[in-house]
Amino acid sequence: MAYTTFSKIANDAMKEPMFFGNPVNVARYDQQKFEVFEKLIEKQLSFFWRPEEIDVSRDRIDFMNLPDHEQHIFISNLKYQTLLDSIQGRSPNVAFLPIVSLPELETWIETWSFSETIHSRSYTHILRNLFTDPSEVFEDIVTNEEIQKRASDIAGYYDTLIHAVQFMQLHGLDQQAVDYINLEGQKETLSLRSIKKKLYLCICSVNALEAIRFYVSFACSFAFAERDLLEGNAKIIKLIARDEALHLTSTQQILNLWADGRDDPEMAEIALECFSEGRDIFLKAAEQEKEWAQYLFKDGSMIGLNEAILCQYVEYITNQRMQAIGYEAPFDIKTNPIPWINHWLVSDNVQVAPQEAEISSYLVGQINSKVDSDELSSFEL
């Protein structure tokens, strides 16, 4: 089952499953098995923005005036988000493109990953403005223990899937001549079903990532902006949050399509088989995010947000996200402990019109500052 960039098999893409069918050949969108992915692409493209459009120059003053423990909260969140988007900017492409079988889904994955690279670039935009040399912040991402704990969990499911798929595409699945040695160095018997299971768990983990992991940082950024601090950053985070909600929708769609038996029947079986493992991925992500909240507030909380409220928010949002993919709500909390966040998450409120003042590129050359009084000499009353 080697990968081919243009399969000559005259297949009917309408009859292919989402993954592990024939590789996509003609990128055609006149007929679609799952129209929703095309709609997601259109929506994502309509959301397009560039970090440079947002003026973050005032943030530096705000940042300098923050007490140390609030600077720690702000910078740690940026580091964590940089890590998440570094992973998301490449992994969906590497992991899912070699196995995808629907043209609209293939294009969605590319569009999705591309938008994550915009997020990564926007973190550099923010940090470059705050520090003369942001290297220290970036370099800490690979050494910071708190971030590493999460990184290995998120990357793990991707790596396991990628490794197994690469073996399958290189050696096939008979494993007569070559044994499959997994990432733990153990011999493992691979079958198409076991790889599909790895895919299912990987999508679950990506879903949990987009559903919960981002939101602790989002809440902190918006809490600063509620105090009129670091507003440029909050504007960028607002755009990122809007994109992430869309990405989350796509993984929820995939999981639900599988579970409802509307795609590959074997994936419907796997969805049942991995039901509890999928739940554990979610609960573990929620647990890790609560630990993260603890780390953020280790030296003190910020006005409007503390560890307890943030943990409640993690529980609240975990309930919401798990119900969206057919799980029972695991936590008791029923109402949003930080209802003001909704105001930041409303998609309609995001204004990207060029007449907005913060789009600096639009303002360049708009004001002629060299006006000589002689130029007014011919004016008469």
């Binding site: 929703v36 709609k39 997601l40 929506k43 809007r242 909600a245 869309l246 989350l248 929708t249 929820q252 769609q253 639900n256 399509l257 409802d260 919401q320 119900q323 969206a324 109402t335 949003n336 909704n342 998450l345 409303v346 998609s347 309609d348």
Partner: protein, 87 residues
């Protein structure tokens, strides 16, 4: 503005007047019913409710996964009586 209030919207067993010009979410809000929402654009799925009876039309394509008997209140409108239950 012609307000059509002869229709009813039943939420968790309590009847309210239904404005057919507004989305279901806007109806809920105008009756001061606290419900979930995030994007108000049909892609986050936070406003999902169960539809017990009646029918809704979508103003825009609902991007979030809508299960059978579920509706997204932020982008749907009802033209006749509906009964819904919040999650």
């Amino acid at each position: 503005m012609s307000k059509n209030t002869s229709k009813t919207l039943t939420v968790d067993g309590i009847e309210y007047p239904l404005d057919t010009q507004k989305t279901v979410l806007e109806n809920l809000e105008s009756q001061a019913i606290k419900v979930e929402f995030h994007c108000r654009d049909g892609h986050c799925g936070a406003c999902r409710c169960a539809l017990l009876s009646g029918d809704v039309n979508y103003r825009s394509y609902p991007l979030a996964y809508v299960r059978k008997n579920d509706i997204l209140t932020c982008c749907s409108q009802a033209s006749s009586d509906i009964k819904i239950a919040t999650y």
